[in-house]
Symmetry: C2
Subunit: 339 residues, 2 copies
């Protein structure tokens, strides 16, 4: 590590993608090495998070977060080490969680940055970007706070082997629920059944009628659908929801790369008769639950009730590939980049 | 009135409609005059309610109420007079509200039947089928209990001059909200602005872009959308909803007569970023609120804060026409039949 380097490398948005993003939408730029000023500290990133929501920020216009700007650095979750500090709260050698990903070095005055304990029992530093971070908390908040899951209910999870979905499945098992998951490969289906221990799982490539498949696997209906994909999964879930069922809208990855948005399900009228609640959420609105989340999730991890997968890509320069892979179904669990 | 008649007339479902129902889907049948047994009473209907939800019950299969059976009597809300009684609670001369519409006479042991006060201040007996009945209560429960309306918010109501919509608009005005309504004729728009006193109203026939129209009329966005129609109104509302907005799913009349269900809006992904809650309800689940509803609504009526329209069709034999007219936009307010 050479902190006297005068430059550091960072990815900028080069152009807005049409359809699935490509490597040429990103540019690796040699930028000036930032200097920590008064009350600031310098961080060297060790781990970066790539997440589907970033696709939304590559689009111009309406999104829940500001769009990335062309010619400006990308952002995202990251874990790094403080290597120089003028700040009393963040000391040299501290590990921190921040949102200045897609780059090697960054400075901060500490706003929006959290110190993490690198020696937590059963947890490695990068897990603060996955199971113990916003990814795990998205699963926790969505299923329990928005979905109001009750013990013994039936839960359907799409993209069930993904970063969020795989945690949702296992929290639901902790709550003694019957859990059905969908994923896109036989390897993922095996993992869901044999490793994550859910009750039923199906490969959505093997059916052209998600609704019929769910009817077969959930003869008593679905109480909570945790929606990571939208599209035909949402339609199939609505067909099979029980009265007073809840649909947690967390992601709609099936449509993220559409040039023209696709029509929605043709069975929304069932929301009325079945008294369904369909609710979207953003985990950042629920930071008041973080302490409870860390306590619960930490306990479940130490009790061996939650396991997780991470797909690690090596090297900052491969960050765009790691991101693009989110959309071709090639990874298990949380996608991370080791800088 | 001749209670010694040995027959009474009732409408049966003759065939299931494809598309918009026609008169030939119904059959007027001379049936045996029912005799009140032990603890029963005989009612002569004076007023019948026809409602869009009945279209759902004419369809085979999934609906929130049992489908009507071919060759069996239709049902629906009705107000009638007890003309013979073996029941201590329901005496001869009492007026009652029941669900045995589409016919002249019926018997009951009182289950599901309510006595009504024919001399209530400012209210006529048929109003118990409209503003003071399930119609008004649907508006009340949907807007306040499901929509969780707050004072001063912006509310959009589709089918705003209809039975439910017109009451929704006025409850929202009682709550000091800004109210925007859509309807299908210039007469209805005038009524909404000049009589019901809402802030803005538009004729949806005059625009092919509900979303743009709403953007113009609701520059500060929509907090609660009371959805009676689905389709492009739902899409337009989603485009203009504010963060944490609520969409109350009460009806989807735009699709009730479709032979093939139409695709849903292509902007459902906005439910996530805007943290929307989309919730369906059925008023019958909320009878615990009835006392509060009658007290509040009675007060608003006596204070002149709620006015209502009724479109009355004369004669039992014209009940199918009154029902069919619900779908061609020809009526104002609540549709009733005077037997």
């Amino acid at each position: 590590m050479n902190t006297t380097t005068k430059t550091q490398r960072e990815f900028h948005l080069k152009s807005r993608p049409e359809g699935v993003p490509g490597k040429d939408n990103f540019e690796l730029v040699e930028a000036e090495m930032p200097e920590p000023g008064t009350n600031q500290f310098l961080v060297q990133n060790e781990w970066l998070s790539v997440d589907p929501y970033m696709r939304g920020r590559m689009r111009e216009g309406e999104s829940y977060a500001e769009p990335f700007q062309i010619g400006e650095p990308m952002e995202g979750g990251c874990v790094g080490k403080v290597i120089q500090s003028n700040n009393d709260e963040f000391r040299e050698g501290d590990y921190v969680l921040g949102n200045q990903g897609w780059r090697e070095f960054w400075v901060s005055d500490g706003q929006g940055v959290q110190r993490i304990d690198p020696e937590l029992d059963g947890v490695e530093i990068q897990n603060h970007l996955s199971v113990l971070g916003l990814t795990g908390m998205t699963a926790y908040v969505g299923l329990l706070e928005i979905g109001k899951l009750n013990e013994g209910e039936t839960v359907f999870v799409s993209a069930a082997s993904g970063a969020v979905g795989s945690i949702v499945c296992q929290i639901a098992k902790v709550k003694n629920c019957r859990v059905i998951g969908s994923a896109g490969s036989s390897m993922k289906i095996e993992w869901l059944k044999d490793v994550a221990g859910i009750d039923e799982a199906f490969n959505y490539h093997d059916t052209n009628d998600v609704s019929a498949k769910l009817k077969e696997l959930c003869p008593d209906g679905i109480d909570v659908y945790f929606d990571n994909v939208g599209g035909d999964h949402l339609k199939g879930a609505i067909d099979n929801m029980n009265q007073n069922g809840r649909i947690v809208c967390c992601g709609a990855i099936s449509g993220y790369n559409d040039k023209q948005p696709r029509p929605g399900p043709n069975n929304l009228f069932k929301i009325i008769g079945k008294r369904l609640r369909v609710e979207g959420f953003i985990v950042r609105d629920h930071y008041d639950l973080q302490e409870k989340f860390v306590k619960d999730m930490g306990g479940w991890i130490r009790a061996g009730k939650i396991i997780w997968e991470e797909t690690v890509t090596q090297g900052l320069n491969n960050t765009p590939e790691a991101f693009i892979k989110l959309f071709n179904g090639d990874k298990m669990g949380k996608a991370l980049v080791k800088v």
